[in-house]
Symmetry: C2
Subunit: 221 residues, 2 copies
């Protein structure tokens, strides 16, 4: 039974990869043999700017990279924040936040938004960017940024130094200029960027690597 299974698997492999031979065995990098200990060394991480209001209605933004899409239906994102941040307390109170996705042209602002606290400074005023009240949630977004998610807080999960803020995406707003022919944001037009723990600088998105054909066989999310 096991032999039959393996034979079927190998046959399937032959069909799948007939037109695109694998590089397996020809690994340039070599395998993962060196232990680095228990560290947050995972890549790549997004660079998202989280918008929130404080109790007095002052808009604030902070940059976060411990963040991801975390559910498809309903659509949700998770953002992990330390209790020491101004944003943590803002979202606990307002139950809402925005995810503002900067394009490469805003790399300095994103770095700045992660370098100082909203306790000490009005980051919108300091950066010259414009806060706009969201249509559907009680949180500000960055007017100049090309992609914005309006989120209502649905759950918090305390994990240790960080707390996860899980938000339901109630609307996505985009600049027309970053949309592809399918009406969705196109990464080549949006030009978001990434953070990699271990590297000092942010990095842009590179070239298409293909594999969309294989991906289309993926079960519906």
């Amino acid at each position: 039974m096991r032999i039959l299974h393996t034979a079927m698997a190998l046959l399937m492999c032959a069909i799948v990869f007939a037109a695109a031979p694998l590089a397996a065995g020809e690994t340039a990098a070599g395998g993962a043999t060196k232990s680095l200990g228990a560290k947050t060394f995972a890549q790549p991480c997004p660079v998202w700017v989280i918008g929130s209001y404080d109790a007095a209605g002052k808009p604030n933004v902070m940059t976060a990279s411990w963040a991801a899409i975390c559910n498809s239906r309903p659509p949700m994102v998770t953002v992990s924040l330390r209790e020491a941040t101004y944003t943590y307390h803002n979202i606990m109170e307002s139950k809402a936040f925005t995810v503002n996705i900067p394009s490469e042209e805003f790399v300095k602002q994103a770095a700045y938004f992660g370098s100082v606290s909203g306790k000490d400074v009005d980051k919108f005023a300091a950066s010259g960017l414009t806060p706009v009240k969201s249509e559907l949630v009680n949180a500000p977004y960055v007017k100049e940024f090309p992609l914005v998610l309006e989120c209502k807080l649905v759950k918090t999960v305390e994990l240790g130094l960080h707390t996860m803020f899980i938000g339901e995406i109630v609307d996505v707003k985009a600049a027309e200029s970053v949309l592809g022919a399918n009406g969705a944001p196109d990464v080549e037009k949006l030009k978001p960027f990434i953070f990699a723990p271990g590297n000092a600088d942010f990095y842009g998105i590179g070239a298409s690597l293909g594999s969309g054909e294989e991906r289309e066989k993926e079960p519906k999310k």
Copy 2:
């Protein structure tokens, strides 16, 4: 008081950006004005391959992009999976998983691992890659991949279509060839890649965008 605060903020801005003028106001993309509805349009997303054993000890791998680092101390990752996946049930039973981070040379394998189910096929056998039992947790990793996180399951959070699997990183293993001078994985050597909802293909990592200097002022994570 508010005026003083704003003045201080503007002064701070002038200090911070004196050497690096901002592009604020000169936005090529334009602001986010078009509503796209409640959709999972956030970018960029990582491409991670999740390793797990089934109850019979068969190693399996699946590709996930609803995933992120979610806590710094102790170090943790979150990966969202549908109940329909083989991996979901494997991790529920084994309480462990690995995060295997592929370099660009493995883009076809990563696409394939997301295109079929471990219920139907032995993906290791089909791809020619090699499962290795983790040292510290009951999950297999991909021998040929350059960066691996061994994780023990600490929490699951049901959100709807997906369930978050939150794992504590108990060790990171890397190929010597992807480490930078500081001993951490270097994104330029690792060459991970990203998924962007809305685009069919995977995308590589591009050039350094700088801003490390501003980022160094960031409060310790």
